[in-house]
């Protein structure tokens, strides 16, 4: 048997290596392991893969949340378009646009550019005395006196 200079020979090392794990292997229930493997194969078990682990920085999470929120907003706007306020058309413009000549159409467009007077018109039927301005009240009193 060959001994090396430091007194520990390869064969001794091999003997220790051969014992390594032998007890643990002897305790393995081989039949149970075989049945478990067959059961997993039968069930179509996919070999375990190590999960991909990577740290997500906080700013990446925040960016992801923002992107998701913007996406949700865009989808919502597409599915639920905001109704445009209807611009009241003057009676004179209430005609079929298709029937207009180009010059008439330009006139209509020009009229739409005019500022709409939104001064409320007070009708006697839907307003009380308390809603009248002072000049209107005076006019009303004067008319009643007449």
């Amino acid at each position: 048997m060959m001994h090396d200079a430091d007194g520990v020979h390869d064969e001794a090392l091999r003997q220790v290596a051969r014992r390594l794990g032998a007890e643990a292997a002897d305790r393995l229930d081989v039949e149970r392991t075989a049945q478990a493997v067959v059961a997993r194969l039968r069930a179509g078990d996919v070999p375990q893969r190590p999960p991909i682990r990577w740290m997500q920085p906080a700013w990446m999470r925040a960016a992801a949340v923002i992107v998701v929120m913007i996406g949700v907003g865009v989808v919502y706007r597409v599915l639920h378009p905001v109704a445009q306020p209807q611009v009241p058309q003057p009676d004179s413009v209430n005609v079929e646009l298709a029937a207009l000549r180009p010059s008439q159409l330009q006139d209509v467009i020009a009229s739409l550019d005019q500022p709409v007077e939104l001064t409320p018109t007070v009708h006697a039927g839907d307003a009380g005395v308390e809603d009248l301005s002072e000049p209107q009240l005076q006019s009303l009193l004067k008319a009643m006196e007449d």
Partner: protein, 183 residues
Amino acid sequence: MPPAEPALAPAGDAQLIAAWQAGDERAAAELVRRHARAVARFLAGLGAPEADLDDLVQETFIRAFRAVASFRSQCQFRTWLLTIGGNALKDLGRRLARRRVVPLDERLESKDGDPHERTVAGETEDRLRHGLTRLPRMQREVFLLRAQQGLEYGEIAAALDTTPGAARVHYHHAVKRLKEWLQ
């Protein structure tokens, strides 16, 4: 009690692999019975916690059976299994903090031999196990394949995708360092 499976006629690994590929589950079970202890011993030598040993052995065989079409008989089936087991253990190590089993209690509970001698032998094993964890992975696997499993350098080289000369160098480096640590 489930009916006993009909026994398989004695066959080589190649025949069992072919039978498994043809759908014979008994062939798969027979291959597990044939090689499970060797795989377990190799994994335990590499530092696998005993609590995870059964799962690792199962995982090794599952991976092997799934990839058996890529086995080209470049080495023995058992050697191929051992390398797959090494990879499975590496993956486990990524998932879990490494836990090492120090089987002191189990040594003291052994049935035969002198308790003092058993303890001394166990201490040597522990030191070797600890030394192996300090080796680079290639040196550790080459050492175990050679010293524990008794494989030739050509077989080791084929399994680990290296050359016999490189495998020999890895082995000698491993032995030199382990001897230093075991002094």
